[in-house]
């Protein structure tokens, strides 16, 4: 799907593609894009926005009914391709590089205008055609399909019923950082959510009681957990295991992804493995664990992502 047969990137292309994404957003949410809404989204003067819309119409990517602009079928496919590039690139950054999560969006925003369709498909193949990006957004398929989802904000989720994180919005940055610091990722399970008086939400996450500030809760979208999610009643984290304690692994947390996850699986940290915490370093972290007869040192923020059944009594040698 090549619409402009050139590899050098002009600012025109960047603006057109950003405008297409805005129109796609508007179409998805059922309102029409206007000169004003586009000028706001691109932070450009009205005249500039009007000219861009004119160009989109000229290329047959958008049509206008009155003030409201909508994408044509060609325009929709093009916009989905840009979105696909952006989300695939974010997935690649998350899985195969050590780029911090706050930078994913910015980096992907640059890359989305540079990658050609073939390169994007090659990237998708390499990543095994992922369905969702690291924030939980669906990635359009190469045929241009993307499901519409009704997302429920955690802030309006009923108290008491378990929830599963479906999506975490990455803007504004400061709030996203807070959500990340809580160790949340798509597929993380939240149990017994309860609204507190100040609007924040308290819930049990992977064996810990966590309080989510009200502002952060609005970034998090949830759904009911599937029938396959039935964690044991006594879940804890490996980092909570005292020195000398032993426990069986339940699973790796959903926030443990990419090379970190592969490395742990390779070391034999799989469901059912018995792990014993042997000793801590002089500063408390890292700690060393006896995993299948090998002594492995893990930092605390890694051990936090290994979920265990509540410690069992140490076996005598």
């Amino acid at each position: 799907m090549k619409f402009f047969g050139k590899t050098t990137i002009s600012t025109t292309r960047v603006r057109l593609e950003d405008a297409l994404k805005h129109l796609l957003d508007c179409d998805e949410s059922g309102r029409g894009a206007t000169v004003d809404s586009l000028a706001g989204a691109l932070s450009q003067p009205r005249g500039e926005a009007a000219e861009i819309l004119g160009q989109l119409r000229g290329r047959g990517l958008a049509t206008a009914t009155g003030d409201a602009h909508h994408l044509t079928e060609d325009g929709r496919l093009y916009a989905l391709q840009v979105v696909r590039t952006h989300r695939l690139y974010e997935t690649w950054l998350a899985r195969e590089t050590s780029t911090p999560a706050v930078d994913w969006h910015r980096e992907a925003h640059k890359a989305e205008h540079h990658l050609e369709a073939e390169a994007v498909d090659a990237l998708a193949d390499r990543l095994n055609n992922p369905r969702f990006d690291p924030h939980g957004d669906p990635i359009p398929t190469r045929e241009g399909q993307m499901p519409r989802r009704a997302l429920v904000s955690l802030a309006s989720w009923p108290d008491g019923s378990p929830a599963r994180i479906e999506h975490i919005e990455d803007e504004p940055e400061s709030l996203f950082l807070q959500a990340e610091a809580l160790g949340f990722a798509p597929a993380t399970r939240l149990d017994e959510p309860r609204h507190l008086d100040d609007g924040s939400i308290e819930c049990r996450v992977e064996g810990r009681i966590v309080t989510i500030p009200a502002a952060v809760a609005t970034l998090i979208h949830v759904a009911g957990p599937g029938p396959e999610d039935q964690p044991p009643a006594c879940l804890a984290r490996l980092s909570d295991l005292p020195v000398g304690g032993e426990a069986l692994v339940y699973a790796l947390a959903p926030s443990c992804t990419g090379s970190e996850r592969r490395r742990l699986l390779d070391l034999g940290v799989v469901p059912g493995t018995r792990i014993r915490c042997e000793f801590a370093s002089p500063f408390g972290t890292p700690r060393s664990y006896d995993i299948r007869g090998a002594l492995i040192a893990l930092r605390d923020h890694q051990a936090e992502r290994i979920l265990i059944h509540q410690p069992v009594a140490p076996t005598s040698a």
Partner: protein, 469 residues
């Protein structure tokens, strides 16, 4: 009966309804199933638990009270063995290569009737520089690297990385950087190669760029000489040696601090990134295979590093000799440059001679002191030299006399010690950095970053010193 198309369409829709982390969960259960099958069908003999003495040793080596004294003591012991143990073979090599070899070659060249410039360039320049590098460098490396490898094989070094990881984590680096820095105390080029043990490219690059702050073997002689000639003499009688040793230790620790500081700065700016998966295996303690270790560390580390140093020392020797012998107007190129560099050097508390010595000694830090002595004699005309372009060494008293005649003070010595710690890596190390990173950009950063820091550090120390005295 549905058509294929309908089925595919239905599959495409159902695909979106699966849990988001389905792949991760399938991979996890495959691993788990493999472990279960292995557990059912593989029988193990003996206990799975670690031996009691290993547990006690681990406790001893990682305990907050004992861990750090032991680490410092072991490092100190290795350095002591290296410095003291290398003395004798270094002297023997020096006598053989520098004194006798040089005299013999001079004789041959004169007998063959070669012109003076050819003999000067080849024998006084290229041969002497190379001989010096071998004599100073080979014995310490042949002692340091095997000791290091023995500790590694025994299982001590992984515990050091384990103990220090928290400090490096705070700086945004990897705990294994502690090992590459310790290796850098032997030779920075070897330290840079050793960073291969760090998986993450980002943290590895940090370790490569900061390795230069580990005071390498080639720089210890400069530190020790300055400390004993200038700083030790300030101390009351009988304490000179200890004060000198202490000041060298302070410089080495300062290097450790700079390495952490630089790592921290890099990890906050250009090399931002997540702390990647850290998993360090702490292998069981086992008696090292002494002879095999000796052989492999000699071949893998010592000889390779030595060969590269020799390759760089040959042209350096030629440059040194040419500097001292090519005239510019009525003075030599060296004297002309020294005069030119003096104002800049003064700002840094150094002399033009030192700056010139560091430029020509980029290939190998070992020849800094001999070059400084040769150049000082050349520029001041003080007695005791061995001729224009001929490097030499002398005992402490003569060194002091020559350098004082060259306008040196305690400040000069202090600033030289700091500059020796904080300047561009030698060309062997730079070449190794390029080979490991394949990046001109990062090689340039590795060269300029410590140089700029050294310039600032020396200038600050010099101006504070001058304001106070």
């Amino acid at each position: 009966m549905k058509s294929t198309e309908d089925l595919l369409k239905q599959a495409a829709e159902l695909r979106w309804q699966l849990p988001q982390n389905l792949h991760d969960r399938i991979a996890e259960s495959i691993h788990g199933e493999a472990a279960r099958i292995a557990g059912r069908s593989v029988t193990r003999s003996g206990s799975n638990r670690r031996l009691a003495w290993q547990q006690r040793l681990d406790h001893f080596l990682t305990n907050p009270w004992t861990a750090f004294p032991i680490m410092v003591a072991v490092l100190g012991a290795i350095l002591w063995i290296t410095i003291v143990g290398a003395n004798v073979p270094s002297k023997m090599l020096g006598t053989l290569l520098v004194e006798q070899g040089h005299a013999l070659l001079t004789e041959w060249f004169l007998a063959a009737g070669s012109p003076a410039w050819l003999k000067g360039l080849v024998v006084d320049g290229m041969y002497l520089a190379t001989a010096w590098v071998i004599a100073v460098m080979l014995p310490p490396m042949a002692i340091f690297f095997p000791c290091f490898t023995l500790l590694e094989d025994f299982g001590f070094l992984p515990r050091v990385a384990f103990n220090l990881d928290r400090v490096f984590q705070k700086a945004g680096a990897h705990g294994k950087q502690a090992l590459t820095m310790a290796m850098g105390l032997g030779c920075n080029a070897a330290g840079v190669v050793a960073t291969r043990i760090i998986d993450s490219p980002r943290e590895r690059l940090i370790a490569i760029i900061t390795n230069n702050f580990s005071l390498c073997n080639g720089r210890w002689p400069t530190q020790i000489l300055m400390a004993s000639v200038f700083i030790g003499s300030l101390a009351p009688k009988g304490w000179g040696g200890s004060i000198a040793a202490l000041s060298v230790l302070v410089v080495a620790l300062l290097g450790f601090g700079f390495a952490l500081l630089t790592s921290w700065m890099l990890a906050r700016t250009v090399l931002r990134g997540e702390a990647t998966s850290f998993s360090l295996e702490l292998p069981p303690y086992r008696p090292p295979n002494f002879w095999k270790t000796l052989y492999t560390s000699l071949i893998d580390r010592t000889l390779i590093v030595l060969w590269r140093a020799v390759v760089f020392a040959l042209p350096a020797g030629a440059v040194i000799w040419l500097c001292a012998n090519i005239p510019v107007g009525d003075v030599s190129l060296a004297a002309w440059f020294v005069e030119l560099a003096d104002p800049l050097a003064w700002t840094m508390g150094l002399t033009g001679v030192i700056l010139l010595a560091y430029i020509v000694a980029i290939p190998a830090n070992e020849i800094v002191v001999p070059t400084i002595l040769m150049l000082t004699v050349l520029v001041t005309g003080a007695a005791g030299g061995a001729g224009a372009g001929v490097m030499f060494e002398a005992d402490d008293a003569t060194v002091r006399a020559i350098l004082t005649a060259g306008g040196w003070t305690t400040l000069t010595a202090v600033c030289l010690m700091l500059f020796s710690l904080c300047h561009n890596p030698c060309s062997t190390t730079l070449y190794t950095i390029y080979r490991e990173t394949r990046s001109v950009k990062w090689t340039t950063v590795s060269a300029l970053l410590p140089l700029v820091m050294g310039f600032l550090l020396c200038s600050i120390v010099a101006s504070v010193w001058r304001a106070l005295t």
